[in-house]
Symmetry: C2
Subunit: 407 residues, 2 copies
């Protein structure tokens, strides 16, 4: 049995740590979380790691490297979305454990200290917050979040304490950046790029910044039968021109992903000209500058379209999250490891947020993406092949054995 | 006091026949309807008409012209939408009565027999049907509609009988087309055309045919962050291209009014690419041929937009109502009457349905539109001026006195 096949079997087994229903539903600080940590502890012990759970309920398996060596952190999250898949998050933990197990079986040793981190909550499904584990390590966790309740009224602090964590000791978990080499995360791509390029794995260039804008075109309503076309100030027609142009202009860049995922019109009747069209515009880019430039272009475009048709245009930023760059040196080590296989490594941005986003406040980060079938994620049919997981594992082993990560 | 001012006063008075609340709310077969008919009876009697209510609750005031003369019908509806205005429908009845009153006061007489018709229910608000009165006269009323209930479970038949009508005698009301010269209706425009052209009145060329189509673009959903623009099959982007193009192409015709008044997308999340966009397309034209031609062009356009982007496109006709032409001879008499004032008569289509639509199954029809402020209708602020009503009244008098209507 190959290591990729072992990974596949382990991910199949741990998928049973789930609430009933289609797919995997494993929320933080639940019996399912507990059962999953029991299995992960087994994976860590099989790799010869020293295991403990920290006060934030992150399960940590440590390999102590040469005296005085810094520590390379490798991790991802144990939790899933409701009805999610078998790979999102948990695969990164499984492959990190197996890479260390393989190194040990082969009679080798990593070039530095290594810790595998199984974070409790990345998806933010149970509580209206997320990324507790990495934020605590980076010292960016806001203790006010401990008072946030789940839908049953149980606070994050109470759930954490009930699970064996310790809200009072979170601050003490903050790591000293000078002891940490960096943070590596292996994750399924959750998109179609690697599959379409025929690559098992790809190295992430950065994690996209995100901004959301609330947009309103406002014109004048009227009877669909009695107002001639030339006399209309139709908010949906203006919004349509805008949405089509946003898509076209984003498509002419390499760096922008722009999406309108929702729209509503008023008065919303088959025979009434819309006087309002409201929709969110989400823009993502690994370059904050490119994102801001694009958004400003779109604002000018919206004003132009509205002005031409005698409408008003409002665009209000409702959310912004800056991009996170992956560390050039750590990423170069991943690229070198991938290119062991011969072909040039594919590089791609991450459009989604990961534990690595929060870890970037502590240390250099890098990410390796795995091809997933059909780009599908957050779905019971989410799938990565044993062969692709084997390729990712080989790359991890190469990085751990090399002097790549800054030793 | 001018006749226009008398009309204004009468419309002010009859507006009190309304349910409580903003604007006029007068539904058929209600105490408000009864109170309104009492006032209309007074208007008819002041014009020297013989008054009776028929079995369909249409109040009819008859002037018997020269022995053997055919009858010119003039009418509109007494009912309103909820929270409607003081002019829609009822103004046509008031002006017809006043025109005959003026002719009588001036010591003249119409050139033919004339009946003023105050129909019970044109708006179709209380029951899921409408146009009882004119359909009965034309012989197109479907008796099955008598069983349709209002929201309190009272059927149309029961409401009519309770009001003094007679469901069993509706068939007997059918008119012999050879006895009828035609049907004239004066109505507020309910649109902005006359106001923008600076005309008090306009002659209607025809009543638009209407079709509605249910449209769906279907593509593929995906995460707004992880799917590059070039790999998307975004249903809302395709729908936006389509909606913008429909508006543009309708604007290049003189004859088409095309409207998308509503839209929904799936899965309808800020960070999910829409895989479905559903919306209705309503197309109106006085030319059924132009309407059908336009709709087929839009179908081809939708297929092209969908095909270019790898989506599917469905367009299903859900409703169709053919256009009604106004009678050239009767309309020419209206044009001649309007042009008495000196300026060339404005002609325009009716985008909305009227009692005249149903009367066209019985006899030639013609309509005179009045300018209404801001094109506003179905609203408490609906307004037509006394001067404009005076101009319409003068035109009616001219038609009634002339040999215009086919005598």
């Amino acid at each position: 049995m190959t290591f990729g096949e072992i990974a596949q079997r382990r991910l199949h087994e741990i998928a049973a740590c789930s609430q009933a229903g289609d797919g995997v539903t494993r929320l933080p600080f639940t019996p399912e979380h507990r059962a999953a940590l029991d299995q992960i502890r087994g994976w860590m012990e099989a790799a010869g790691l020293q295991v403990h759970m920290d006060a934030a309920a992150t399960l940590i398996g440590r390999y102590a490297g040469p005296e005085g060596s810094k520590t390379l952190l490798i991790g991802s999250h144990q939790d899933s979305v409701p009805g999610g898949g078998r790979y999102d998050g948990i695969m990164g933990i499984a492959l990190a454990c197996l890479a260390l197990e393989k190194i040990r079986r082969d009679g080798h040793a990593p070039a530095c200290s290594v810790e595998v981190l199984a974070f409790a909550d990345e998806e933010g499904v149970r509580f209206p917050t997320a990324l507790l584990g990495p934020r605590v390590l980076a010292g960016t966790f806001d203790a006010a979040a401990l008072a946030l309740p789940d839908r049953d009224g149980v606070t994050l602090g109470a759930a954490l304490a009930g699970f064996g964590g310790d809200p009072a000791r979170l601050e003490a978990l903050r790591r000293d950046p000078s002891d940490v080499l960096g943070y590596l995360e292996v994750h399924i791509e959750q998109g179609p790029v690697l599959e379409r390029r025929g690559a098992a794995v790809g190295v992430v260039t950065g994690i996209c910044g995100i901004e959301r804008n609330a947009i309103r075109f406002a014109g004048e309503t009227g009877h669909a039968g009695t107002v001639p076309m030339a006399d209309r100030r139709d908010a949906l027609v203006a919004a349509s021109r805008f949405i089509a142009a946003v898509s076209e202009q984003a498509g002419q860049t390499n760096s922008i992903r722009a999406t309108v995922g929702s729209i509503s019109v008023h008065p919303d009747a088959v025979n009434a000209i819309p006087d309002r069209a409201d929709f969110p515009l989400e823009v993502r880019s690994v370059s904050d500058q490119a994102r801001q430039g694009f958004t400003e272009e779109m604002r000018a475009l919206g004003n132009r379209i509205a002005g031409d048709a005698g409408l008003s245009f409002e665009m209000t930023r409702t959310y912004v999250q800056p991009a996170v760059s992956c560390d050039p040196e750590l990423s170069a080590a991943l690229v070198a490891a991938v290119e062991q296989g011969g072909a040039a490594a594919v590089t791609l941005p991450s459009g989604a947020t990961h534990d690595a986003s929060a870890m970037s406040d502590l240390c250099p980060i890098a990410m390796l993406f795995l091809r997933c079938r059909g780009g599908l994620s957050h779905h019971p049919d989410e799938y990565a092949s044993a062969a692709d997981m084997g390729a990712a594992l080989d790359a991890l082993v190469h990085v751990l054995m090399s002097s790549g990560p800054g030793q």
